[in-house]
């Protein structure tokens, strides 16, 4: 029913909440706190939930129609006038169709624009591959001046949104469509660029972002049943990446698996590998991500299974990496 089936995928009951609701809630608060905050949407305000801001602050909400490129440019102009624009649409359109405007318009002038990319990853499900965004992190991450964040749940999305308003410079953060498990709390410390230790153990590390952090926690549960106690890192910030956390994981736990709802090219796995390859640590690593393929229309939980993004997949990957390390 438009919800990732916790019993099917997670093996455990969690409270489920929308990350985009956190975005909407934080925006409404920001509207009150800072008159410079403005919001733009491209005919998806009902879906990205920016409509809540629009209803409360109609003069600071700009409906741009179905024109993502124009929306990005307009946000740049508003930022040049001293405003803090948040803009939203589906991630596939912002990172794809409007990439040039993001690169040359936002980033090159270091414009203070915040991109709240909704419906990222494959959890958009039934809309099919045209709307599934599995390349967004990979194409935004190389752009100079950008901070790229993939929050894992409601609270982290809320904190990301609030932090973005305080941060001077371009930010891209990605939310999913579905309700996802709430695995952090209001009080969990959140500092962009600093990974959160979700669980600790000596037997390899799972580094995950977004929806896959919950999957990683489930994978850890599975692994404990096999006598393996992994470390689990919530790597919400893909850029700048927490190098220290990656290097410590390699040094302390001997194997690394990354898990992301993204193509295996260019995302979290690539970012972590970039750090490891230039380090002195030679540890086995596996990337759990979408292999070079389009998925299809279907319930998100089915797509996660089809893409190989289940806790079982993550657990198996870490076990394989540890075995390889022992050889």
């Amino acid at each position: 029913m438009g919800v990732v089936d916790a019993t099917k995928v997670m093996g455990k009951k969690w409270e489920l909440q929308l990350t985009r609701q956190a975005y909407a809630d934080a925006l409404v608060e920001l509207g009150e706190e800072d008159p410079r905050v403005v919001v733009l949407d491209a005919d998806l305000a009902q879906s990205t939930l920016t409509r809540f801001f629009g209803e409360k602050y109609p003069h600071r909400f700009f409906e741009m129609g179905i024109s993502e490129q124009d929306m990005v440019g307009t946000a740049v102009g508003l930022s040049h006038m001293g405003f803090i624009p948040f803009l939203s649409s589906y991630s596939i359109f912002l990172s794809g169709r409007a990439w040039d405007q993001v690169r040359n318009g936002v980033a090159y002038s270091a414009a203070n624009v915040k991109i709240g990319a909704a419906h990222g990853g494959i959890s958009v499900g039934k809309d099919g591959p045209t709307h599934q965004s599995m390349e967004d992190v990979g194409v935004i991450r190389p752009i100079v001046n950008f901070t790229v964040i993939v929050p894992c749940d409601y609270h982290e999305t809320y904190k990301t949104t609030k932090w973005s308003a305080r941060h001077e410079g371009p930010v891209f953060f990605r939310m999913g469509r579905e309700k996802v498990p709430v695995i952090t709390t209001k009080d969990t410390p959140f500092e962009p660029g600093k990974a959160i230790l979700m669980e600790d153990g000596p037997d390899g590390t799972i580094i995950a972002c977004g929806l896959m952090v919950a999957q990683a926690l489930e994978a850890a549960e599975i692994l404990r049943g096999r006598g393996i106690r992994p470390r689990v890192l919530n790597m919400h910030t893909i850029k700048p990446l927490d190098h220290e956390a990656v290097l410590a994981a390699a040094r302390d736990t001997g194997a690394i698996v990354t898990a992301e709802e993204h193509s295996r090219y260019g995302g979290l796995g690539s970012a972590v590998a970039e750090v490891l390859i230039e380090s002195d640590h030679r540890v086995p690593m596996k990337i759990v991500a979408i292999n070079d393929r389009y998925l299809e229309s279907g319930p998100p939980e089915d797509l996660l299974i089809m893409a190989g993004l289940t806790p079982q997949n993550v657990a198996d990957a870490l076990e394989g990496a540890l075995r390889k390390g022992r050889k």
Binding site: F62, S67, D70, G73, V76, G77, M81, F83, S109
Partner: protein
């Protein structure tokens, strides 16, 4: 001090100085785009001298009018006019497009005082100008006006028409779009490469107030800006009919000058046409002599400070 309030002959001399700047800049760096800058020099210099409320001594003063060069490849014009308006010393112009220089091939607002946007990838400036116009309105800066300059070939970009819809939808009467309507782009005549006519009708259909006029006639240029300012409830576009490479008669109205720098022989012809009788070295020396603000009149722009 909102404007310089120059007489037409003084604006003409300032424009001719800027044309000379552009020819020398592209010659020295052996790259860049002289054709568009020479074509837009009359109508845009009138704007910078006599229309826009700007302050070179306090470039970021609020409130102020803004100019967005959407066709960023005409950067040489923007740099030269900012320089002659007093934002930075003429010496800077000599290192256009060279390493270590703030004057990038296409403008970056972070490096150069007076630039209001970073542009270069075509079709994006009007969206940014719309954002500025919306922002000015939101800030209650009701007298602030936003000017955006586009090439006519640039209007082939889809993003422009998204932005045109936005400007009309939000009734941005504080926004004025200037089109350098020279019917020339890299691969040939605009009408041959990808026709944009009937351009005035297109803008009218998109709910713009449309002014079509001669981009080299100062009386008509001044009247067009006045009409744009007086227009309420909708944005204005001024279609300035211009000649690429205007001011150097042997090269006028020839699209090959879109992105071709002048070699030394061609520069000599241009200098002569623009009224400078010395050598290239003598011309370069005039820039070195002006290290600081405020700018002094150039060899051609003598008397430009005379107010009428």
């Amino acid at each position: 001090m909102p404007t310089l309030n120059l007489a037409p002959d003084a604006v003409f001399r300032m424009a001719q100085q800027i044309r000379l700047d552009v020819c020398l800049m592209t010659n020295l760096t052996n790259s860049g785009h002289p054709g568009g800058p020479l074509g837009m020099a009359d109508y845009a210099t009138w704007l910078f001298a006599n229309v826009m409320d700007i302050d070179p001594k306090a470039a970021r003063r609020e409130p102020r009018d803004r100019f967005v060069l959407s066709n960023g490849h005409c950067s040489a014009y923007n740099y030269a006019v900012l320089c002659r308006r007093g934002y930075f010393p003429p010496k800077w112009l000599l290192r256009f497009r060279m390493s270590g220089s703030p004057l990038q091939g296409h403008p970056n607002m972070i490096y150069v005082p007076g630039l209001e946007a970073s542009t270069g990838s075509l079709g994006q400036g009007l969206s940014q100008a719309n954002g500025m116009a919306l922002g000015a309105r939101l800030k209650g800066q009701h007298d602030v006006r936003i000017y955006c300059n586009c090439g006519d070939g640039e209007l082939q970009e889809g993003n422009i028409w998204e932005a045109v819809m936005t400007a009309a939808h939000y009734k941005l009467d504080n926004l004025c779009l200037l089109v350098d309507f020279n019917n020339a782009q890299i691969d040939g005549r605009v009408e041959d490469v990808m026709g944009i006519e009937p351009l005035g009708d297109k803008f009218r259909a998109f709910n713009f107030h449309v002014i079509e006029t001669d981009g080299h006639d100062y009386g008509k240029i001044a009247a067009a800006y006045d009409e744009a300012r007086a227009t309420r409830g909708k944005p204005t576009v001024i279609l300035f009919r211009t000649l690429m490479m205007k001011g150097v008669p042997p090269y006028e109205d020839n699209f090959k000058w879109h992105g071709k720098p002048l070699n030394d022989d061609e520069l000599a012809i241009a200098m002569k046409a623009l009224g400078f009788s010395g050598t290239k070295d003598e011309l370069v020396a005039t820039y070195e002599d002006w290290p600081t603000q405020p700018p002094k009149p150039g060899p051609i722009w003598a008397g430009a400070g005379a107010h009428h």
